[in-house]
């Protein structure tokens, strides 16, 4: 055989999983991101007493595709004064970072994209934070005041909140004792409890920090629409803009996955060790089948034939997926896929719930101001995260010296909470006096 061909074949043989996964990520994540946007718009519409997208496809189900087509065929504008190389490079960096970091995420016991590298969680964190380079460079390259202010804001925000988020993750890692993603999930299985219950403060800090890192409301200052037009994206349009957007939503999925892995038990179903709850393993198939039934119920109520047909199609698709989930229970030879399928289901469910919290907060809360954001990060979250790391460490030390684990954790958590309350109190008093002090001369200056 031709040696070159042989080498290629060997290469493919060893790397086919990674290659396919890579292709799948690049092909599927944009679609998923598009539909996350649709879900977000629909949820927002529901909370705001309106319908949301309804025109493209039944209930607007094809809207993401229409959006993608629109963005693709839009004119590609590069401002004259922009730095063309970096203007071109920045969105690519942003999206590449988000997609690459997905490589190390395990969507289930058998759905890990890359090999289970022993620093998996760090890889995800580190690579996804590279996306900020894209934001900063994009803001700078646009050569517009709004863009550069957005970029500066995002840098400051990243530096502040990555610290807090990292410290929160350290608390979780202390409990798991490993950086490997499957190791973390295994540790939670071993502990018989999700880490969110062992380190609630850390989970909360990570929630806040991850919202800030993904530039979502109420921390969406880098792209604060009402102040900076669109922040670092102001000068971008068409497909470049879409890349940023894609990166943002992929990042949401990434941080959701990290939080799920670290704090929400990864792909474990609720109470994985309680045997009388084993019927929960049927739940995925059941839920999907129920969605199918609901679609059939709704199909009769659609005003247009096409929509009825579409609803039927959705129902059939649901049944098919449900069947795939249910099949292994009846076909003995397929039994080995059960943990993988169910794991993926639970994992994605938890990620969706996490992203739902993001959206919910976005529709409800006003936006922080920049100084308030910085204060929250530096004066409250970071000290709290540091104390929390100590608290978790002390709890583990106590446990290894024979104190009941729960007692130790509850005690240390209480100490942390008291600290948090004192911190917030102190900060409130401080800002109160500062604002009255600084405002007086200013308001009379003019």
């Amino acid at each position: 055989m031709n040696p070159t061909l042989h080498a290629i074949l060997v290469f493919l043989q060893t790397w086919w999983v990674e290659l396919t996964s890579g292709v799948v990520i690049v092909a599927v994540v944009p679609l998923v991101a598009g539909y996350v946007v649709l879900v977000e718009r629909k949820l927002m519409a529901d909370m705001q007493a309106r319908l949301g997208p309804m025109r493209v496809g039944p209930h607007g189900l094809l809207q993401p595709i229409a959006d993608a087509v629109k963005l693709l065929i839009k004119e590609d504008i590069i401002p004259d004064e922009a730095d063309r190389l970096i203007f071109w490079l920045a969105p690519v960096i942003s999206m590449t970072a988000a997609l690459t970091s997905m490589g190390a995420i395990a969507f289930g016991p058998s759905f890990q994209v890359a090999r289970d590298i022993n620093i998996g969680i760090l890889f995800v964190l580190g690579v996804s934070s590279l996306g900020f380079l894209g934001i900063i460079l994009g803001g700078w390259a646009s050569n517009s005041h709004y863009s550069i202010m957005g970029a500066l804001r995002s840098t400051a925000q990243l530096v502040s909140y990555e610290t807090a988020g990292g410290l929160a993750i350290i608390a979780g890692l202390l409990l798991s004792g490993t950086l490997s993603i499957s190791g973390i999930v295994a540790a939670q299985e071993k502990y018989h409890v999700w880490f969110i219950f062992l380190a609630p403060v850390a989970a909360f800090i990570y929630l806040v920090a991850s919202i800030a890192e993904t530039n979502r409301a109420p921390f969406d200052l880098p792209e604060a629409e009402s102040e900076l037009v669109a922040g670092y994206m102001t000068e971008y349009s068409g497909f470049r803009w879409a890349l940023y957007f894609l990166g943002e939503y992929a990042n949401m999925i990434v941080v959701g996955s990290i939080a799920t892995t670290l704090f929400l038990g990864g792909w474990l179903r609720p109470f994985p060790n309680v045997h009388w709850l084993n019927w929960l393993d049927f739940l995925p198939a059941l839920i999907i089948a129920l969605i199918g039934v609901y679609s059939i119920y709704r199909a009769g109520k659609q005003p247009v034939m096409v929509q009825t047909g579409f609803m039927w199609a959705v129902a059939l698709a649901c049944f098919a997926v449900a069947l795939i989930f249910a099949m292994p229970w009846f076909v003995g030879t397929l039994k080995f896929v059960i943990p993988g399928l169910n794991g993926a289901f639970w994992f994605l469910l938890k990620v969706s719930a996490y992203i739902y919290v993001f959206m919910w907060l976005r529709f409800t809360l006003p936006r922080y101001r920049f100084d308030q954001l910085m204060h929250l990060g530096w004066y409250i979250l970071i000290p709290l995260a540091i104390v929390n790391v100590f608290a978790v460490g002390v709890a583990m030390l106590l446990e290894s010296n024979g104190v009941n684990r729960w007692l130790a954790l509850i005690l240390t958590t209480l100490v942390t909470l008291v600290f948090a309350i004192l911190l917030v109190r102190w900060h409130d008093r401080r800002t109160e006096s500062a604002s009255t002090a600084s405002l007086a001369p200013d308001s009379y200056a003019g």
């Binding site: 970096i86 760090l122 890889f123 590279l130 970029a151 990243l158």
Partner: protein
């Protein structure tokens, strides 16, 4: 074979990136090429199985330091600052530095050729996959053998941090008054 290809790829990218970094006039462009170099170096670390080092490189250098670099470049408006700084004798300095570095590189290659098996291109290095997870090992040696240097470095960094805060505060106070 793949290893070699990857190595040469990363090495090439690192070298080209470094060269471009030095030659760019625009500071941001330089920073971007420095990032390229750092990433390529990280790739080499990964290839060597030094996963922790790889990720430390990415998080610290690319994610942390470079972000701050760019931040500072944007804030300071280096292009404006450059007009104020006149590089005198710059060609002379550059020539000397290049000459010294070139001599060094030549010497290394020369001696590497002379001492087979120990030079630059060691073919029989241990395959990466055989290494045990090294983040634990790294931690072990950091906190046992190298505890003192590690602590000294941390204290140094802490001092630098406190110093920075103090300086920033002082500046603000003088501004206010």
């Amino acid at each position: 074979m793949l290893d070699s290809i990857l190595f040469y790829f990363f090495g090439g990218v690192a070298v080209i990136g470094a060269a471009l970094m030095v030659t760019r006039r625009n500071a941001i462009h330089s920073a971007v090429f420095l990032i390229t170099t750092l990433l390529a170096t990280a790739g080499i670390f990964l290839q060597l199985g030094a996963e922790f080092l790889f990720i430390a490189q990415i998080i610290l250098y690319v994610g942390g330091i470079m972000v701050l670099f760019i931040f500072v470049i944007m804030l300071v408006r280096l292009d404006v600052a450059l007009h104020h700084i006149r590089f005198r004798m710059k060609s002379l300095v550059v020539t000397i530095v290049i000459a010294v570095l070139g001599a060094e590189a030549g010497a290394i290659i020369y001696y590497a050729r002379k001492l087979p098996g120990q030079g630059l291109f060691i073919q029989n290095m241990a395959p990466a996959s055989n290494l045990t997870p090294n983040s634990e090992k790294l931690a072990q040696s950091l906190f046992t053998n190298y505890l003192l240097p590690f602590e000294i470095a941390s204290v140094l960094l802490l001092v630098a941090m406190v110093g920075a805060v103090v300086m920033a505060k002082n500046k603000k106070r003088t501004e206010d008054s």
